[in-house]
Symmetry: C2
Subunit: 699 residues, 2 copies
């Protein structure tokens, strides 16, 4: 993004900060902004309309959104959401992620290794019950335990009663707790994927840019009992697709925003988390790029991981740039000060006012332990992922086996939350996944992580000394990866069934390494969870005060649960130039020619050969003012009639500030146009049956 | 490098640590290892032989080595040494760095923008004079000033007496000081360069690997008074080239080794310098790669810089891996302890023993200021390069203009050393270089550096606050780069001629920024130079004790001055497989086919088309046991007769430990074979005249 655009963006943003921001919000389905939509677009959102859209929306647990688009169980998402599944089903012989795939018959469809899809069935507010279980006098530590216990209890109770996956979700940073119940699907089969070259046309340089020409779609068929499911709700395909200027909606699962964070928390992000994360992402990007360049097969093995690293690098770079802009931070400071003045006034809350100090203190405390925590314990959101000092699939599995044995011996409510009974099915799906894990890749990954660990904590750190066992990071990584048996699914099943004794008897070197650091890692986690709990209680106090002062007609930060956004298909200005809302097929060929067809602007051979057959006026991608963020990838874009008119796949660079605030002058959500999908299925991919199924809503 | 190779390497290295290491050493020309060579290879090194090789050797001040190879002033070096010149003479229209170049006539030769070549004329030991000028009672601060003064005096005196470039060189970390006198050449014209694709065949993945197939050569013609120089000494071209097993010599300018560093200094490298440098290199690699991918012209603009960053990243990664290996550090500790015991014994030195403690303390002290120093003052070795918080050509020039005005007003001996009278000609060549500087590239580079600065020092740091002036890093970078006039050579000449007043009156925003931080930056430099002086004195004491105990028949660490190495053309074992010493043209085509000709293993079109014309048995690259390091790139490899048989262009991965120690079991130096140059000039590049000039030693 160039300088002028940034400056104007924030001037605009500052100007808007005072008034209501037009199409803002990732709204809860049980608190939809009916009045705003009615006022702004004259459209009446009904319960039936909402229920239909919700039940046609699908969550991809590999990290994205999607929707049912046929009565025969066809589900559509982005190619880059399907990428995880495509990578896992590929081999040296078949590089589906790079080359694409089309199953002409049901027999040709390929079952995904460990993909789980969720459809949201109901939402229940359990705030009162959760809060009642946490005594006001409890310390952070006790409160965290109490909250974990009641959460596990509610989830198990619901799971037993309904048979549905049941997750208690924290909203408004602790202001509310809602119970989300999902129908799970785990037999998911690949139907169609284009070449990554056209799905991600323009690659890293064009990522988060616009205009774009990406056919970022992937089609799966959902099965139950070996038969395609017949979803009661699926989206009808619009015969015309998105029109410039029209009202559209996005139904999907935005992953995480930080709009309600305090200034102290934003400063922590700016000064600590984001620079650290970016440093690590860039280190990893270089590692994977260099290793991938050595051989075609290496490149295939790291393909999805590298895409993911580059994507996050660009997102985090954009977020950090936003926080490094004094205009953004000043606006946040001004808003926080204004609200604190309200809190000090009539109808305010001394508790909420004090909460800011508590949050700042807890944030500081988290900062003290964050590095060791990241290196030795890792990300609580991705339970199977190894910590950053041990990056490898093998370590992630080894630690899970070790802990599963220990945790399952405890009462449900006292376990680490990922081992709770209600999560067991999804947990086992992942634990016993037989996705390919490559020894060579595991070794370079772990070697780099161990080197990073030693660099960060120092070679004389007692834990580092124990972990390296007198060897160089590279030698130690090779020894561990070559020595462990956890890459065998059979071995995992045996140990998981056998419990602690079986795990101990195995004397697996990777599991023993996990054991070696487990006390410290658990301790770090407990420390951070205690501080998180303190923050959550403080945020709860602020949220309650905000509800009291401003009502509950607002939306919480994103939590990878289903949300509704709305807005208009609308172009925008960049450097004094108007960027129209829609691109078309002709633009793709112009872009490629202007870049001399050099990668990543080269066309797949089929796209070069079949140009003449195409209607070049067909819309390709379009932008709208809908409020989205990562996790929304694959979300259906629908019109007033609830028809599928496109699919979200990206935001523009100006949308990256959206982690912290929404503005609708420059910030745009990018969708693939529904017509582009039909045109390419028919003219490029010789898949008329699939195009017909989409248009007709059945086979 | 795989694990086994590393482990075996260090086992070998440990075994060798006790006995004399065979072909070790980057020897001074005034202290050549005649006895060792005689004993090992039965070859008598004479004064005439040494003088001839020395006077035919050429230093490329852009950072490499080379040699005269024709009576008509032809000088050969590596393509990657010539890259700096190729980049600067390229434009959007002519990408010589990527596409290569051949001047069929003298008129077609292209003059380099700011290249300076040096030929070593004489060496004089001035240790006694330097030491006599530094009182034994002086503090680090006073000693540094005294040493700077005497150095400037010796250099100016020599410059005035001989007209030659005169540099006092610190050897043995302060054990000796020698005066090196060079003949300067500054009219250098490009004659031939191949495509980078074949010069750097295999790209980053094959860098520091073997077997290889790189035509890493570049030919320049050296002029004086608009006529080609007729060097009295140039290397005859061997009619057969390097033969497996034969004794060969390398004459070149190894840049820097760290073999005499103490364990405390090595730990500092391992724990501080190297991880920091690698973090920054990887950050920069991602920045340049991503920006270069956006457009072909961007890619051209960053081409040489990106190559350089990737190359250093691989070197530093290898060095860090070596220091992360306990085997290496343990061997260093053992050796240091053994020598300290000698020092404590008869004929030892209490001074030298105490020096270890002083070095450790000074290293600690340097560590305290290193970060600010790197960010605000930068690298003393590259005086024009901007510090790491301000990376941009524009800042480098702006600060040089500011300081030149201030320094030139002082007596010669009291100036910062780069402004000494003896260095003036080379300094002005660089200051007034009209190499292209691109505004867009300058902005992204400075924006990233300012962001890095703020991340490292914090947003509330007083200096950071002043520097950012209330703006985001990106906005501030754009403002500075767009506002400064220093990219105009005319502007630079005016300010340089006008002195302090002219500089002040200009009110150039970049110069004013340099002024804003100059007091702090100079202070940091003084602090570090004082500690360096303390270390230098301590190292001097150790060196003198070592001379007393072990004689002076050893070589000092590399200093980018001319050195002689020797060894044999010899293959080596890797993972139990013997790698023969020589590759040939057939191997190139096999390598390309086995990688499906995908980049960076693709062949330039000419190389595909003309395969049939080639004698595929012609040798391409070869390895030898010669002891080299970065800076040796472009060094001639010669046989007993002093004939040119190849040109150094790389080492294998196992050679990267060479920064700290030499071993000859796996460590190999890589050369382009002389026959490969002739074969490709004739059969691929239609340059028979040039091939004849090389073979005949004249046009």
């Amino acid at each position: 993004m160039n300088m002028k655009a940034i400056l104007r963006l924030f001037l605009a943003w500052l100007g808007l900060a005072a008034c209501a921001r037009a199409d803002e919000g990732m709204w809860l389905y049980n608190n939809a902004p009916r009045a705003q939509i009615k006022a702004r677009y004259g459209f009446e959102v009904t319960d039936a309309w909402l229920d239909h859209l919700r039940l046609a929306s699908v969550r991809f647990n590999s990290g994205g959104s999607g929707s049912f688009v046929s009565a025969d169980g066809l589900a559509i998402t982005n190619h880059h959401v399907g990428a995880d599944a495509l990578q896992k089903m590929s081999s040296e012989k078949n590089n589906y992620l790079r080359d694409g795939f089309y199953a002409r018959t049901a027999a040709e469809e390929i079952k995904c290794v460990d993909l789980e899809l969720n459809v949201l069935q109901s939402i229940e507010d359990v705030t009162a019950r959760v809060n009642a279980a946490v005594p006001a006098t409890a310390t952070g530590d006790e409160a965290a335990a109490a909250r974990r216990k009641i959460t596990a209890e509610i989830e198990r109770e619901s799971r037993e009663k309904t048979g549905l996956r049941s997750d208690v979700v924290t909203l408004y940073q602790g202001g509310q707790y809602h119970l989300y119940r999902f129908k799970r699907y785990t037999d998911i089969r690949l139907v169609f994927a284009p070449e990554q070259q056209i799905a991600f046309y323009g690659g890293d340089p064009d990522n988060f840019e616009y205009p774009r020409y990406d056919l970022d779609v992937c089609l799966f068929r959902v099965y139950e009992n070996d038969q395609p499911v017949r979803p009661a709700h699926y989206l009808k395909w619009s015969p015309v697709g998105a029109q410039d200027g029209e009202l559209v909606f996005v139904s999907g699962h935005p992953g995480r925003t930080s709009r309600l964070l305090t200034v102290a928390e934003l400063e922590y992000l700016r000064d600590n988390s984001l620079p650290y994360t970016l440093m690590l992402l860039k280190r990893r990007e270089v590692l994977l790029t260099a290793w991938g360049a050595r051989h075609e097969e290496n490149a295939r093995r790291v393909r999805d991981a590298l895409f993911s690293v580059q994507n996050y690098r660009k997102v985090r770079d954009g977020e950090l740039a936003a926080l490094q802009d004094p205009a953004v931070m000043d606006a946040k400071r001004t808003a926080e000060k204004a609200f604190q003045q309200k809190l000090a006034g009539p109808g305010g809350s001394a508790d909420a006012l004090a909460a800011y100090t508590k949050i700042a203190a807890a944030t500081q405390e988290i900062g003290r332990y964050a590095l060791r925590y990241r290196l030795l314990e890792g990300d609580r959101r991705n339970i199977f992922s190894a910590p950053q000092g041990l990056t490898s699939e093998s370590f992630g599995i080894a630690r899970t086996l070790l802990r599963a044995a220990e945790e399952r011996a405890k009462p449900n409510g006292e376990r680490l939350k990922e081992y709770a009974d209600a999560k067991r099915e999804s947990f086992e799906l992942e634990l016993f996944s037989d996705k390919p894990i490559y020894t060579d890749y595991e070794i370079i990954s772990l070697a780099d992580a161990l080197a990073f660990l030693a660099e960060q904590l120092g070679y004389n750190d007692a834990t580092v000394v124990k972990m390296l066992a007198g060897k160089s990071p590279r030698a130690r990584a090779a020894e561990l990866i070559n020595g462990t048996q956890v890459r065998s699914v059979e071995f995992r099943r045996k140990l998981y069934a056998g419990g602690s004794d079986a795990v101990k008897t195995a004397r697996d070197p990777m599991i023993e390494l996990a054991r070696l650091i487990d006390a410290e890692a658990r301790g770090l986690r407990k420390t951070l969870e205690t501080q998180d709990e303190i923050k959550q209680q403080a945020q709860g106090a602020i949220a309650r005060a905000r509800f009291a002062l401003e009502g509950t007609s607002n939306y919480p930060d994103a939590t990878f649960t289903l949300r509704l956004s709305y807005g208009a298909v609308r172009g925008y200005d960049e450097d004094g130039k108007f960027i129209p809302a829609l691109t078309n097929f002709a633009g793709l060929y112009e872009r490629s020619a202007s870049q001399h067809n050099r990668p990543p602007f080269d066309l797949p051979p089929r796209w070069s050969e079949r140009k003449a057959a195409l209607n070049l006026a067909t819309p390709f991608n379009f932008v709208s003012t809908c409020d989205i963020i990562g996790g929304n990838s694959g979300s259906p874009t629908v019109n007033r009639a609830g028809e599928f008119v496109g699919i979200i796949f990206d935001g523009n660079l100006q949308s990256l500030v959206g982690s912290f605030a929404y503005e609708d002058v420059y910030n745009r959500a990018l969708s693939v146009h529904s017509a582009a999908i039909i045109e390419s299925l028919r003219k490029i991919y010789d898949a008329p049956a699939l195009a017909d199924e989409l248009l007709n809503g059945k086979r």
